[in-house]
Symmetry: C2
Subunit: 176 residues, 2 copies
């Protein structure tokens, strides 16, 4: 009997988090971890995060349209967050760039669409199961902020945040 050869996954097999969104998240985390609230110029982000320069331009444009980032033109220009990173969840970024978070159209909150596969959507087991999966995923994505992510990467504890007067690396002026 033929053994089903395991499909070797390519980069396109993980489309809830496309390359574009991964780049976006890396850029945002860089702004938080290294930007200290100042505007950061695009070439610097591109170089340090190994993101193609022109591709990053498109991404920052989208982040700006989403109201997550604002840009400053001219020399000494660059990008900065519009809000404190504590108020930006991973879910917001992903939903904005990717669209639906659900894994089947009939289980999406914001992009619902009948799939037409089942006879009765009200009892369809596939839909019911993937609504569960969607809810669990959204729970995670919405409960973690970009600030949380930055703290993970800098190996900081919450205690560092409470002691912000003693040199928290994430302490910055996020007032825009």
């Amino acid at each position: 009997m033929r053994a089903l050869a395991p499909r070797i996954p390519t980069d396109q097999d993980y489309p809830m988090l496309t390359q574009k969104t991964r780049y976006a998240l890396r850029a945002l985390l860089y702004l938080i971890e290294e930007g200290h609230g100042d505007a950061v110029q695009l070439p610097r982000i591109a170089e340090t995060q190994k993101i193609p320069r022109k591709f990053l331009e498109l991404i920052m444009l989208d982040l700006k349209a989403l109201g997550i980032v604002k840009s400053v033109r001219g020399p000494k220009g660059g990008y900065r967050l519009t809000r404190h990173p504590r108020g930006i969840s991973f879910g917001e970024v992903i939903r904005g760039l990717e669209g639906p978070i659900a894994l089947v159209p009939c289980a999406s909150v914001n992009f619902y669409k009948r799939c037409g596969d089942c006879h009765d959507e009200a009892t369809c087991a596939i839909r019911r199961l993937f609504v569960l999966v969607r809810d669990r995923s959204i729970d995670v994505l919405n409960s973690v902020s970009l600030e949380d992510g930055a703290r993970w990467e800098l190996r900081l504890t919450d205690a560092d945040a409470d002691n912000s007067h003693s040199g928290d690396p994430l302490a910055a002026d996020w007032q825009i």
Copy 2:
């Protein structure tokens, strides 16, 4: 300021559950709900579940290679499960047909691959977050069996299963 036009998702935007896998699950649920343990012929499955006939052939072939289904050739032939549906989880079917369940390659259990985006995978916030999402998703997918799904669709309660001597519609000879 330009508003980021929400991308209208197409069918290809939900690739963890492709059309192929949805068809596969529908076919399996049909075997359980209507097959009563007997072999069911492909054209009947295709017609009732609105699945293109030739496409379904490929799918059943894969399910056979995965050891979930066995085929009987010739007249009176067809497909039947190899095991009791209680022992087949949605996760098994999906993982077999789709490959990785994780949404980023560096967060996959069975198909791990460095993504190369981050400097240090050990602290990468994106990876850490999507490992959480993956674990939640796998929890759900592995904890629900095809029999559970069939009971949902038939609006049966667990009590019906306990009273199997009083005509449980899912009572059947699953010994192969």
